[in-house]
């Protein structure tokens, strides 16, 4: 028995309902010629079509008329002003915020400068107090600041040798 003479099985009938092109050429040719296979296919197809018909028949019909609003006027009368209002609001918020921010920051800057200058004044007063308390005249203070700066530990050790205890290693 040739392949083309074999009837389509149940699955192949279903495949032919989904899409005939998915069957092999042989099977398609067979389906075209075979009354038995065509009848099987037609039976299933009619049942499925009837299913759709009955579902549609048992569904109610629409009662309300669809009302399509006029597009242009509503489109522009609502959306454009809404967009403009939104944009204006954003700009307003941004400007208020930036004003507050800059006002705040400049206030903070002036406060910081005042604090710094107050701090500097206090430091200078303290230096003056320290210097004022010194018993040495300005001349010796200058010598002290300049001429003793190069003394290092080695030189001091030379001048005052460190005594090493005798019991140490």
């Amino acid at each position: 028995m040739k392949d083309k003479d074999i009837h389509l099985n149940e699955d192949q009938i279903l495949v032919s309902l989904v899409g005939e092109e998915d069957l092999s050429v042989e099977k398609r040719r067979h389906l075209l010629d075979c009354d038995v296979c065509q009848a099987k296919r037609m039976t299933l197809m009619s049942e499925l079509e009837r299913l759709g018909e009955m579902a549609r028949d048992f569904a109610p019909l629409p009662e309300k008329k669809v009302v399509i609003p006029l597009r242009e006027p509503r489109h522009f009368s609502f959306r454009l002003p809404a967009f403009a209002a939104g944009l204006a609001l954003i700009v307003l918020i941004a400007s208020v915020w930036s004003l507050m921010f800059f006002a705040d920051s400049s206030k903070q800057m002036s406060q910081m400068t005042a604090q710094l200058s107050r701090g500097t004044e206090i430091s200078l007063d303290l230096v003056d107090d320290i210097l004022g308390e010194s018993i040495l005249p300005q001349y010796y203070l200058d010598i002290f600041a300049a001429s003793y700066s190069y003394f290092d530990d080695e030189f001091l050790e030379f001048l005052v040798p460190v005594e090493v205890p005798s019991n140490s290693v």
């Binding site: 149940e10 309902l17 759709g52 048992f58 569904a59 019909l61 669809v66």
Partner: protein, 206 residues
């Protein structure tokens, strides 16, 4: 031969409809209000029912349909290819329905899963026979789709209730065609096992 000529005739009608939708979309995009209203009229029932299948509530379906068409009218000017209008509209609808479910946290996706007691009066005739038929249909369908995954349900509904093609479904759901086919194949396999529903459908066919 008869099948072939039927296919050709239906494909010709489809092409005419596609062309007429294309023209309406082009005109509506350039601000023609009459064409916009024609376009809404053309898809109103389809979209309403599509939403109804997924919400199960007449009122919600009315409201959502209104929202979908408002969204359509606003976005139509941005639609690049008028040929894709239907796919684009369905995508809006699907997304809106998903949002609705997300907000309401309604897990049973399709309203078709409900029993008649839960549902509002349908659009069908009020004859007792029809009501019994509707009840039986819903019950059988409920039984079937409980066995399906969300994707299988959605794709089966889009294919056979909303009558969309594989390519259209793939574009609406942003999935590949092969993925759509795989889900549809699995859904059909489950449909084939639903003997009660198939017997009912067969009964109404004869």
């Amino acid at each position: 031969m008869a099948l072939d000529s039927e296919r050709r005739r239906s494909s010709g009608l489809k092409k005419d409809r596609v062309q007429s939708i294309f023209n309406l979309v082009e005109s509506a995009r350039s601000g023609d209000r009459v064409c916009m209203e024609k376009l809404v009229g053309l898809f109103h029932k389809e979209i309403f029912q599509m939403v109804y299948f997924r919400t199960g509530s007449h009122m919600d379906a009315e409201d959502l349909t209104q929202e979908i068409f408002i969204k359509m009218s606003r976005g139509l000017f941005q639609l690049k290819d008028p040929g894709l209008f239907k796919v684009w509209l369905y995508r809006i609808a699907i997304n809106r329905v998903r949002d609705f479910h997300r907000k309401k946290r309604l897990l049973p996706f399709l309203a078709l899963t409900r029993t008649l007691e839960d549902t509002e009066p349908s659009g069908g005739s009020d004859s007792p026979l029809n009501r019994v038929m509707e009840q039986e249909f819903r019950s059988q369908l409920d039984h079937l789709i409980r066995k399906m995954s969300l994707s299988e349900r959605e794709i089966l509904t889009l294919r056979f209730v909303d009558e969309l093609g594989i390519r259209e479904i793939a574009e609406i759901l942003k999935k590949s065609e092969s993925t759509v086919k795989t889900h549809l194949y699995r859904a059909l396999k489950k449909f084939k096992q639903a003997h009660g529903l198939r017997a009912l459908l067969k009964g109404t066919l004869s």
